[in-house]
């Protein structure tokens, strides 16, 4: 297969992939079923948004974003110099190679009248850019290893991107190196470009062996200085106008030291074509793979960053809300910056649920957006991961691609409620920021109601008992201080929650002192089922005022923990 067929194939695969990815931007999304956002014309809304931005004053934001966010990578710069240096090296090196070298016939030829890939500065620059990319890759690989303790996860896809780019650059250097060393390439070029007799050719060869890394069958040992000097003269007449010294291609020249061994086994011409095919195959693999893997971020991330700068995370139309969401999901590079900074990191360690980490959540949410079926177990863990979030918004602040993660996560919580059971972590202070923000109020209340109903099914309340109460041992929990209670009821009398109701017994199930009594008679289940524990404002007044140092508030926390565990255990059976 020749170059053009391979190029054609990879371009076709790339275009089909791009079409598929683009179409998901306007067809998928995370919103409740039947949301009006799905029925609106998504493409229309996007075009309207883009046109109004480009024609209005916000065009200045676009320009600013182009330089600050896209070229300079400001968001990465603000957070981590290491990541910024790595990314700038890879990005600049690669783009410049693409323009100057891969598209040389189009770009360099039209920009520079005297462009020759074998002349300086181009010969030198090609190597410089290649080394920049390699240095960037080395930093990126170092980061992937060194940030592992900070819960950075590595997928095969993360390595694939690094491996393909490394393959392109390294095969390029080796290709250059084999060409420099190859005797057949030398012969071909002298025949094509030189006008030399046999003696002159031998001198030139000697010079190239001594100076330019050529490996010649005619020189098993170093050629004599005399011959080299004569060759230098020939080099001046025949070569130098179109071919600078190979030493300026420092990367390829360094490779000549390694590739020599290859020749004895496969022959120099075969080695050149081996690295040639390796090089173009790696390039075409990247091109074909681009829409399907994380490298798609080179398309999606700039658009996501522009959108963030222009809209400041407030998109007016629901259709564009979904478009932005999809753009964000496809802009995720799984770089893990969010996870490294996640405030819930220790909850991840404790609950051992990958979905608590934002980088893992956002990767999985692509499935939810695409409407793929999610099995029960995964759904349960995903829900837990979505709820166990402190809403500190660090992930959104830090995301180098400018993805509005907090919006994605909050929305996903409530969308999942449609087909899953509500997560019991809803009954924790993780709910505070959500209540404060006042979004999805109805959904939240509905979910709370579902959880409350589960409790009613799981626990009996005092009123449900017709016969005598169980006085058995149902476990006392690990706080024994309830034993000190001598029934003075100071706790109930001082409780601001009890005070809030006209008929507290009815509203709260058990009053604080009654909860302690239940523990006293060995009926912990009864205490766990009372609404009081979930109405406790945790102000600790009861505990502080208890003359016998019963740790009421702490006991209530223990009861809440146990009640949730019992509920979860019941749910999973």
């Amino acid at each position: 297969m020749n170059f053009n067929i391979l190029l054609g194939l990879s371009v076709i695969v790339c275009l089909i992939g791009l079409f598929i990815r683009f179409s998901t931007w306007f067809s998928q999304g995370i919103a409740p079923s039947g949301s009006p956002a799905f029925s609106e014309s998504r493409v229309g809304a996007a075009i309207k948004g883009v046109v109004s931005t480009l024609l209005g004053p916000r065009i200045f934001l676009v320009i600013k974003s182009f330089f600050a966010d896209l070229l300079f990578l400001k968001r990465t710069f603000d957070k981590s110099y290491l990541r910024w240096v790595a990314h700038i090296l890879i990005f600049t090196g690669f783009i410049l190679l693409l323009l100057m070298h891969a598209l040389g016939a189009i770009v360099s030829d039209s920009l520079f009248a005297n462009y020759q890939p074998t002349l300086n500065p181009f010969l030198f620059l090609r190597n410089l850019f290649g080394v920049m990319v390699l240095a960037g890759l080395a930093l990126a690989i170092y980061r992937r290893f060194s940030s592992k303790p900070q819960r950075l996860r590595n997928y095969p896809g993360d390595w694939a991107a690094l491996v393909i780019i490394a393959a392109i650059i390294l095969s390029g250097f080796f290709l250059e190196g084999t060409k420099m060393s190859s005797y057949s390439t030398f012969t071909r070029m002298t025949e094509e470009y030189g006008s030399l007799d046999e003696e002159e050719t031998l001198a030139l060869e000697a010079y190239w062996v001594a100076q330019n890394g050529l490996v010649s069958p005619n020189f098993a040992e170093s050629p004599s200085a005399e011959l080299v000097a004569a060759g230098k003269e020939q080099n001046g007449y025949n070569c130098i106008d179109c071919h600078a010294s190979n030493r300026s291609a420092f990367g390829g020249f360094a490779a000549t030291k390694v590739v020599g061994g290859f020749f004895s086994s496969v022959g120099d011409a075969a080695a050149v074509s081996f690295f040639y095919y390796l090089h173009i195959l790696a390039c075409f693999t990247l091109l074909a793979w681009l829409p399907f893997g994380k490298m798609f971020h080179i398309v999606a991330a700039p658009l996501s960053l522009l959108t963030k700068r222009v809209t400041n995370d407030t998109v007016s139309s629901p259709a564009n809300g979904l478009n932005t969401q999809m753009l964000g999901l496809s802009a995720c590079t799984h770089c893990g910056a969010c996870t490294v900074e996640c405030s819930s990191s220790m909850f991840y360690e404790y609950f051992d649920n990958d979905f608590i980490l934002p980088s893992e959540k956002v990767q999985y949410l692509k499935n939810l957006a695409a409407g793929r079926p999610i099995d029960r177990q995964t759904l349960k863990r995903l829900q837990e991961g979505l709820y166990i979030c402190t809403s500190c918004d660090r992930c959104t602040t830090v995301c180098p691609s400018g993805i509005n993660l907090k919006e994605l996560f909050v929305r996903s919580r409530y969308v999942l409620l449609e087909n899953g059971k509500p997560e019991t972590a809803l009954l924790s202070h993780f709910s505070f920021p959500l209540a404060l923000a006042g979004n999805f109020v109805d959904d939240h209340l509905k979910a709370l109601k579902k959880v409350t109903d589960q409790f009613k099914d799981c626990f009996k309340s005092l009123a449900d008992f017709s016969g005598p109460l169980n006085l058995g041992q149902t476990g006392s929990g690990n706080n024994e201080s309830y034993r000190g209670c001598y029934s003075c009821r100071r706790c109930t009398n001082i409780c601001p929650v009890v005070r809030s109701f006209d008929n507290p017994s009815e509203e709260l199930g058990l009053l604080p002192h009654q909860i302690i009594y239940s523990l006293g008679i060995g009926n912990r289940e009864l205490a766990m089922g009372s609404k009081m524990i979930w109405s406790c404002s945790t102000c600790y007044l009861c505990q502080e005022h208890c003359p016998n140092e019963v740790q009421l508030c702490d006991i209530f926390y223990g009861l809440k923990n146990d009640a949730i565990n019992k509920l979860e255990a019941g749910a999973s059976v």
């Binding site: 996640c342 819930s344 972590a425 993780f430 709910s431 600790y540």
Partner: protein
Amino acid sequence: MKYAFFQGCNIPIRIKQYAESTKRVLQKLGVELEIVDQFNCCGYPARNVDETAYILPSVRNLAIAQQRGLDIMVVCNCCFASLQKAKNVMESDTGLAEKLTSFLSKEGLSYSGKTQVKHFLTVLHQDVGVDTIKKNLVKQFTDLKISLIHGCHILRPREITRFDDSFVPGISEDLLALTGATSLDWPGRMECCGAALAGINDELSQKLLCEKITGAQLAGAEYITPVCAYCHLQFDTAQQRLLADAKIKKQLPVLLYPQLLGLCMGLDQSSLGIRENSTIDFSDITKLQALLGPVEEKKKKKSKKKTPVSA
């Protein structure tokens, strides 16, 4: 004097002005604060779900501070209580401490009990000292009635928080007196703002908040000064929904303590972020500035007892 500044999850994103005004004031008083990016959540939000999950994050925070050789200064009461609880568990519950330590070792961290945790008010009251603050005052409020709400988790349970006399707190009162403002005696000042129930039982949460607002207003309060980040969000943000739903008649605007103190120390109101409190508008600023007068030479006789902290 240098501390690792523990801001928690709410302050950096929702109450930036609290961190900013605290930094400004402490900078003037010679206290250096280091922002530590590695700090995570204090654990408080998980407490209803799992006690160990609640304690673990703060043990890591303590370990990180220890690694940097710094003590922690906290602004939020709930963060403060969580850190103190974690410290307490590591000191007294060997079984649990061992379990928690095993989590830390995954990251090569360890905690040996070195890190001290101090509330911002303790740093002012004890480390800087009332006399030093006094020397830095350039103005004082002449007629400003403040309802101070201490917040539950800074005071109670006393054997964990070890902050102040949990029945007759003096530190916050002493500090407020420095600004010349009158600290009102009002029924809700030691009680709950309702934050712990928000999102779990909103109705009850709002009831508790309403009770505080109307209670303070009845006592004649012009402003409320919360200490805790959660209290602040209740009064500065949740209050607005109460107003919109006509559950309260009049808004009770919020001023944070470092904002009050900062004004008295001659700091510019904009650097203290006073306008960023959503309950404060321009007229409040003008009014506050008009109330600033020369520093009273005579000491206001305020309760200045040093009550031993019961442990």
